[in-house]
């Protein structure tokens, strides 16, 4: 069924946006976390998306041109950690500085809106695909 290809591509988009959302929530929740199991403060995570050929069973040349999306990796952004002078803090270093995460709440909120819109776009594409399939079933009625 050819409409299933569209469904699968939309599904990959939805999954990728969900993963991005998970990472954004993790960044926001840890916006002021100064201790991690690896040591040091929490570092902002960034999702890298990559295109992937659609694995359809038809395997036609037309489907080779299509690609769905997948999460390639989640990398840690170690740049721009904030150092605050606070000698009384238990996590302060020798010079009395505490290192805070490089999470900018404004950036995360903007990313969240982008993710939300992308998710909505995928759902709309899915709905349109479904309506097209249902319309095709009305042929000859």
């Amino acid at each position: 069924m050819d409409f299933i290809t569209s469904f699968d591509i939309s599904a990959s988009g939805l999954s990728a946006q969900r993963k991005k959302m998970d990472v954004i929530v993790s960044n926001l929740a840890n916006a002021s976390t100064i201790q991690t199991p690896e040591g040091g403060p929490y570092k902002r995570k960034v999702v890298v998306l990559a295109a992937e050929p659609v694995n359809s069973k038809f395997g036609s040349a037309l489907n080779d041109a299509l690609s769905q999306v997948k999460v390639q990796e989640i990398f840690e952004d170690g740049e721009g950690l904030k150092k605050v002078h606070d000698p009384t803090h238990p996590n302060a270093d020798d010079q009395g500085f505490v290192t805070y995460p490089n999470v900018n709440v404004m950036t995360e909120m903007a990313d969240m809106i982008t993710v939300n819109r992308a998710y909505e776009a995928c759902v709309t594409a899915l709905d349109v695909t479904k309506n097209m399939a249902l319309k095709a079933l009305d042929i000859g009625k």
Binding site: M1, I4, S10, A11, L14, L126
Partner: protein, 101 residues
């Protein structure tokens, strides 16, 4: 003009395209039935997938909501398509039964 040419081809098909229908015509017997069976099996598989997906979501085991919803939509559309095929087959059958001999 296009329409006329199309009609002409339909009314005068070349003899090569007409395949003999009889015992010596290869293996067409049951081919339609096989196809129907395969389609129904495929649709049943989609229904089972939808069932599994929604159970997984309800039990909080695995899978996300959108995957379950998409599985449901796939099952729904393929089932509707099967219903249309069934309606067409029944229409054809009843048309033949109404035929005056």
């Amino acid at each position: 003009m296009d329409k006329v040419t199309t009609q002409k081809t339909v009314s005068n098909p070349s003899p090569q395209t007409i395949k003999p229908v009889g015992k010596d015509s290869g293996k067409p017997q049951g081919a339609f039935g096989d196809m129907l069976k395969q389609a129904v099996t495929e649709i049943n598989q989609l229904q089972n997938n939808a069932d599994k997906a929604i159970t997984g979501v309800q039990l909080g085991q695995s899978g996300s909501i959108h995957e379950a919803m998409i599985a449901l939509e796939k099952a729904d559309i393929s089932f509707r398509a099967m219903m249309q095929v069934r309606n067409k087959i029944l229409d054809a059958y009843q048309e033949i039964m109404r035929m005056q001999v």
